[in-house]
């Protein structure tokens, strides 16, 4: 198993025999997962494969799940970025970033906004920002808390392709600087390969692919290794790729 090699490092996330289900439908079926500190993991899966359920379990947002079992350990500081930016429309941008941080937050919030390229927009209302800008505010809000674990549930899913490319670069830069452990849930295979250190594929509540991405950065779509890995992942996701 790939996990054996990593057991010596300190694990940020430890999931053992995790079971989650709704009614008589089992979504996560005795799932095991270790994520070492500082690793960037991308989680792929068809819709309904349980990716969001796993993320919500790690985020502690699965109180409405009836069937449950197993253990999971996560760090104390966890931040989540959702598919929608989820900014409170009645708070200005800076207040959204520093929400719940208390008095010391303001200067940190301003520098977090500067980090995502939104210096000077502190006083704007969320509705005055574009979709990409709103998502950047959401990233600032997540990272200003210096999380040990950063969970992202298809954070770029609602953005257009051009904005998404820019956001990938920004996310990599932010991760390099803040060094959190990352779990990125996505349905975009290229996104997963371009960004992650390790890619998981979830199918019917179990991890069916667990691969370290062994491609030097920056990873280009034209690279033959990229292409090969992409086909492997697409195959695991049940997408038939025509032979080249």
């Amino acid at each position: 198993m790939a996990q054996d090699a990593r057991r010596l490092e300190s694990a940020a996330v430890q999931v053992r025999s995790l079971v989650r289900g709704f009614g008589d439908k089992t979504v996560l079926d005795h799932l095991d997962l270790d994520i070492p500190e500082g690793q960037f993991v991308a989680l792929l899966g068809k819709s309904g494969s349980g990716k969001s359920t796993l993320l919500r379990a790690l985020a502690g947002l699965d109180y409405d799940v009836e069937g449950r079992g197993g253990t999971l350990t996560v760090p104390a500081e966890v931040s989540v970025a959702f598919q929608d930016s989820r900014l409170l429309p009645w708070l200005r941008v800076l207040d959204n970033v520093t929400l719940g941080l208390g008095r010391t937050g303001t200067s940190r919030g301003a520098s977090a906004l500067a980090e995502v390229g939104l210096a000077g927009r502190e006083k704007a209302w969320p509705s005055e920002l574009s979709g990409g800008e709103q998502q950047r505010v959401a990233l600032a809000r997540a990272l200003v808390r210096e999380p040990q674990l950063f969970l992202a549930d298809e954070p770029f899913g609602a953005l257009d392709a051009l904005t998404r490319i820019k956001m990938h670069a920004l996310l990599q830069e932010l991760i390099r600087r803040h060094r959190p452990t990352v779990l990125l849930v996505t349905h975009d295979v290229d996104e997963a390969i371009a960004l992650a250190d390790r890619v998981l594929v979830l199918d019917r509540g179990q991890i069916v692919v667990d691969e370290i991405v062994d491609i030097p950065r920056p990873r280009a779509l034209g690279d033959s290794k990229f292409h090969e890995f992409r086909n492997t992942l697409l195959g695991a996701l049940g997408v038939e790729v025509a032979a080249q």
Binding site: G60, F82, R86
Partner: protein
């Protein structure tokens, strides 16, 4: 009103826009919004009122309106001037305003507090929502006989009746707005680890603001309405009392002065609330803009 007045001006502009010159290099034509409300014109709210006044004035001059039933506008004005110069009107207004203000203030505080408790706790919801819905089914004015029995016919009873109506409006609107706050924001608050106090301050209360303001505006109207009724019951001063007296003496001009004052205060209070609402809900983008 808006569409009738702006339609002729708008029509040519539309034709141009639909034609070749969509780039709009020519002149001041601006594209016109097709489905949302168009831009208002200054004092547009007053247009209908002014028309009504004109009909009244013309009818009085032409002798179409019996002055015993409805005095002419200028008679009402001179009566108002008389009432003001003798200080009678001010006295009645002061009495009415203080009654309305006290009842309103109590009602707003109690109604909002109940809405927050019912919206945020299960036990509050179980204990508060039912009685309020029950109260809502009973018209406030229908409680007058019972409350007179309990509280007598003094000031307390009048203020309680006013407050009761306000409580219901404030509760219904604030509670509705509060319970329809998007669950995604609640999730966010949990993920960010907000304390309950911060959650209420930054998420719940701002989220309930639109309903709170709607409640305030309905309450103001309701409070004025209740006021005129309760002032008919053993009051010594107050606008309502002044009007009931005038009815006994057949002074339609005094009744009209009273109505005008009610109207002015009604409009003023609504305008003030709208202004505050616009200021505090400036983050909202709505149909009316």
């Amino acid at each position: 009103m808006t569409s009738i007045l702006s339609a002729p001006a708008a029509a040519p502009a539309r034709t141009t826009a639909a034609g070749a010159d969509r780039s709009g290099s020519g002149a001041a034509e601006r594209p016109i919004r097709r489905l949302g409300l168009r831009k208002g014109f200054p004092f547009s709210r007053l247009a209908g009122v002014l028309l009504l006044l004109a009909v009244w004035a013309v009818g009085s001059v032409a002798g179409l309106i019996d002055p015993r039933k409805l005095s002419a506008p200028w008679t009402v004005v001179t009566t108002a001037v008389d009432l003001i110069s003798t200080g009678i009107l001010q006295e009645h207004i002061a009495a009415s305003l203080s009654r309305a203000a006290v009842g309103f203030a109590f009602g707003v505080v109690i109604g909002t507090a109940l809405a927050v408790v019912a919206g945020l706790t299960r036990s509050g919801d179980a204990l508060i929502d039912g009685p309020i819905q029950l109260k809502r089914a009973i018209p406030t004015l229908g409680l007058i006989p019972l409350l007179i029995l309990w509280l007598g016919i003094g000031e307390t009873f009048k203020i309680v009746i006013i407050a009761l109506g306000v409580v219901v409006h404030m509760y219904i609107q604030t509670h509705n707005s509060l319970t329809s706050i998007d669950n995604r924001y609640v999730e966010l608050a949990e993920v960010l680890g907000l304390s309950r106090a911060t959650f209420i301050r930054k998420v719940v209360l701002p989220g309930a603001m639109p309903g709170f303001f709607l409640g305030l505006r309905l309450s103001v109207t309701g409070a004025w309405l209740t006021l005129i009724v309760v002032e008919g019951i053993n009051a010594v001063t107050g606008l309502g009392k002044m009007m009931y007296n005038a009815q006994n003496y057949g002074q339609s001009d005094v009744i009209l002065v009273g109505l005008a004052v009610y109207g002015i205060f009604g409009l003023l209070s609504d305008a003030v609330l709208r202004y505050i609402e616009r200021r505090s809900l400036s983050w909202r983008k709505t149909l009316a803009g």
